[in-house]
Subunit: 236 residues, 6 copies
Amino acid sequence: MRPSGRELNELRPISIETNVTRHAEGSCLIKMGDTHVLCTASIDAKVPPFMKNSGLGWVTAEYGMLPRATHTRMNREAKRGQSGRTQEIQRLIGRSLRAGVDRVALGERQITIDCDVIQADGGTRCASITGGWVALRLAVNKLMKAGDVISDPLLDPVAAVSCGIYAGQPVLDLDYPEDSEAGVDGNFVMTGSGRLIEVQMSAEGATFSRDQMSQLLDLAELGRAKLVEAQKTAAA
Amino acid sequence: MRPSGRELNELRPISIETNVTRHAEGSCLIKMGDTHVLCTASIDAKVPPFMKNSGLGWVTAEYGMLPRATHTRMNREAKRGQSGRTQEIQRLIGRSLRAGVDRVALGERQITIDCDVIQADGGTRCASITGGWVALRLAVNKLMKAGDVISDPLLDPVAAVSCGIYAGQPVLDLDYPEDSEAGVDGNFVMTGSGRLIEVQMSAEGATFSRDQMSQLLDLAELGRAKLVEAQKTAAA
Amino acid sequence: MRPSGRELNELRPISIETNVTRHAEGSCLIKMGDTHVLCTASIDAKVPPFMKNSGLGWVTAEYGMLPRATHTRMNREAKRGQSGRTQEIQRLIGRSLRAGVDRVALGERQITIDCDVIQADGGTRCASITGGWVALRLAVNKLMKAGDVISDPLLDPVAAVSCGIYAGQPVLDLDYPEDSEAGVDGNFVMTGSGRLIEVQMSAEGATFSRDQMSQLLDLAELGRAKLVEAQKTAAA
Amino acid sequence: MRPSGRELNELRPISIETNVTRHAEGSCLIKMGDTHVLCTASIDAKVPPFMKNSGLGWVTAEYGMLPRATHTRMNREAKRGQSGRTQEIQRLIGRSLRAGVDRVALGERQITIDCDVIQADGGTRCASITGGWVALRLAVNKLMKAGDVISDPLLDPVAAVSCGIYAGQPVLDLDYPEDSEAGVDGNFVMTGSGRLIEVQMSAEGATFSRDQMSQLLDLAELGRAKLVEAQKTAAA
Amino acid sequence: MRPSGRELNELRPISIETNVTRHAEGSCLIKMGDTHVLCTASIDAKVPPFMKNSGLGWVTAEYGMLPRATHTRMNREAKRGQSGRTQEIQRLIGRSLRAGVDRVALGERQITIDCDVIQADGGTRCASITGGWVALRLAVNKLMKAGDVISDPLLDPVAAVSCGIYAGQPVLDLDYPEDSEAGVDGNFVMTGSGRLIEVQMSAEGATFSRDQMSQLLDLAELGRAKLVEAQKTAAA
Amino acid sequence: MRPSGRELNELRPISIETNVTRHAEGSCLIKMGDTHVLCTASIDAKVPPFMKNSGLGWVTAEYGMLPRATHTRMNREAKRGQSGRTQEIQRLIGRSLRAGVDRVALGERQITIDCDVIQADGGTRCASITGGWVALRLAVNKLMKAGDVISDPLLDPVAAVSCGIYAGQPVLDLDYPEDSEAGVDGNFVMTGSGRLIEVQMSAEGATFSRDQMSQLLDLAELGRAKLVEAQKTAAA
């Protein structure tokens, strides 16, 4: 049995509240159970230097966690610099979202997705990708409404979910108590139509078989369908 | 006339929602109009090294702003380090809150107040102090309920408000459009009973008279009364 | 009684020696008792990027303390980076001096005031402002003599002094023994004609009343008159 | 056809030269074609603070690239700090190697694996893991020979290989010309007996199907067998 | 007797293997006994900003040591930043090599010499200069063969060797066991024709006479002749 | 002819004013012509960690330059970190002074010599060593007077002077106009009795012969005698 009482293939309750801050071009507060992430999209006319005059757009992401988003307070990254883990996560979010973007259609501009974890209970990078796409969708809508972008550069939604082996069982959408016990876990980033963008499976002090990997992918597909539904409802 | 249509001596609408995150020992989301700050209090058994075995408690504060809390996106401080402005603000918050604490009664422990600006529209340091005190109050309540602290170390509420000369008129609680125009502004930190803790009046490209200073202090006292009322209601 | 034997409203002996270094466009060594600060003014044809082609001048300041300016040796900031306190002080010095400058008359150039504390005995930020203005005055004189600046951009002297409540009494110009004991102290920056530029009153583990604030302001005005006189004599 | 003329399922020539530096407790120079990585293992009696007195051992890794290991010279990380990519890679190497270690049998000591890329032609992180295991094996042999460790803490070899979709075809062990073109690639870390430790599949500006993923895994298993053979020969 | 059994005026065995990496425009692996340094030369069309449009070339150097080049593992400089010692050494290497360069003949381009110590046994800075010149020679040959440079900008070889007082005796080319005991040692950088470029003699907890200095210079001249021979053979 | 009109073998006017700051255990302001350096000695009961319980003392040095000590203002090192040049200089000062110290007689304590350049006109590192020794002498005197140190740990004065080839002539004690033109220059650190501690000769875009080196040493010995005399007078 899972600590939360959920079924093995059951997501946590999802909620995606949009337009939660007045300055960002797109924003949402995504809640996957007790994991809450504020995602904002900021449009900038300037692209990174190496991309100038390419005519191509760029989507990038930054990730942070408030010091007391966690059970015990962590040091503030503004004081000690970004950890390797933080940089790894924000590179993943940016790469994942870009997989769903037609950079020609976007035109030469940059959209920065900020994902700030207000409260953490496992799965923050997946929630950031799922919520980040909604913020991106809303910002792109604004560009299209203003006529700055003509054909929709967002090809397909991008969503992510974690799965892992907990107490010997494959489970969907690990929360913190599961995540801290699981010897094997993975993050699966997928498109709305079920294509894969990123698969990150990792064992700490353990190993896994190809069969187990297959079971986790099955679970991830189940989760993906529900997440994409929630994204579409939120961004409608 | 003020851009918001407020009276000269009118605060923005105040809202203080408590217990907004499940991990912190005390927390609130304070809204002064469109300025929204998440304040959390974290209790730690350890005090800073120079205070060890003194028997005295310590209250300290850290301050941050999400990159898109502002009209245009700012660089993330975790990437570039804390600015001088940020350090100045968090030193002010800590000093202000300590003025209302009996450090003997608190006992040898540290409470860290994190003030993270979710959305900014002027007056973020004042909102941080006012909301920070509520988070502190709730965390101290928890210590007292648990019997870890016997006599109440919080002597009196601590609240803060800004005033300034806008379009030649003294006004209370400046919002961003006012703040960016005002040649003179000040932050006033006061106790519940009206004693002063900190007065910071500052002119940029201008000067002010003692009379004007007196008028701003009068306004600040008006504001303080309302803020303390809101603190007491929230923390009740 | 004050540790130094001074009257409550008595400044420390002031001395301002000018042209103490051969390279700077303006310089002085200001001594407020045992607090000695070397102030230099450096003229640069370049202004900060955001000000380019504005036609406006800029005055900025930097502050430092030699490692053994203090009773016990402090770590060198060049090794550990500028502290929050240092940044806060240099922002204050710059803001204060700019309040006395007509930026149009100055023309598009930058003057940097470096204030380096050779020996510290309390009140270093106030001495830096008072001495910094003299260095600025001398550098501007040079610009005017050379015909690079036509009408005098320095409207009025800018001087600063600290006051505080020491042993229950309001005292003027705190030295280190007083400063380290005072529960309440303040820094007052004023123009030659008595207008206020910056008021920073602060209590650590204490509070103060409006009456006490008024008494400190009265003292500050007394001190200001003497300081401005010394500035004028020095820069004559 | 692949730029190198290799078959789709053909590894580059492997060479693992051991004991290449006289100071390290274990070392090898691994060459996967034109990718050359120097791997050293350093034994330290001290473990990280949080592990002290746990009786458990620790294996960690650091990764670097000489500035001119690449086609055009890169900035030296000692001057600009470790990039997010570098930190991500060294975390992967450490995690991968630990999956093959019995930390109780290792005893309370730390082994640091340094992987420094002398020449780069794609696949440096995989070569680092494969070569890093050989350095680890040699260092552990030394501990066992000295009687400091009794039962072998290395359960099974750990090796890694990349695969990707190049010109529409699944290929094994991408070199730089392939890597820079491939829209999808992955790194597969496996044990000697074929269990999975880490799977990292990633698309940049593309997506992939589960079938493609399966094909890449098939290739990776082929590669793994050859790599483990080379490891065993080298460390014999 | 010297720990290595060498004569007082005997160099360690020298080996200079060229073209050891495929990307660099010039490269060698120099071995002075157990001290092994990889030297690469990278040509860049861009010179430092302050030299732009001067028509003059520039040669600069960077130096590093792999963490386990030494008896016990050192911290990685990419993690903690370059030490003062590292910066001092790389400034010396650059200055030394520039003394042998006709910057007009080189033309407006920069050549960066990277010297990375693979294994250390004393004398790494001297080996870096001697090997660095070979890498520079090979890169310049490439420029001349391509017709990018017409007249040879390398006037004369540049080589370096250390000498010191070990156990009361002047000795040539100190290895680590000698270096860590010697109270006086020096580095001598010379041209192929025996002119001096840099002399750095240094005593730690000791002093030396002019006579001793003369004896060390005599030894250095002996060593220089052999080193330049080896350079010429290698770069032929 | 030298720009200053001095003879080839003539030092600039020397002045060493002692006890110039009230907090330091020893201090002086040394002036070599227009080069002015404030040197302070700070005694600390704590030695660096690796020296603890060795019974040996330690002398170390730090060096800095005020931003406007130079013709044009330099960036403040507290803002950008210590340059390689600064670190090289302070390592030289510390090493030089330690050569004149009996570390057993000093006892387990650390003396830090801070050398801060108030005004620069060439030769700042030499002036720092010469003045630094005076500050050290005064601090040691205080220890001996207090009975904390019994036998004098200062064996012999330590002084330093620069020489160089200017306009084809060997000259003593280069000032800035000479230093910026000289193709060859050197710093010579010597004891009161004429023993050598450190010789640093360096050519930038030039070379020198052994004869020239000998001439510079002759000049340095002349200078050393005068400097040591001035040190003795000052510290008497």
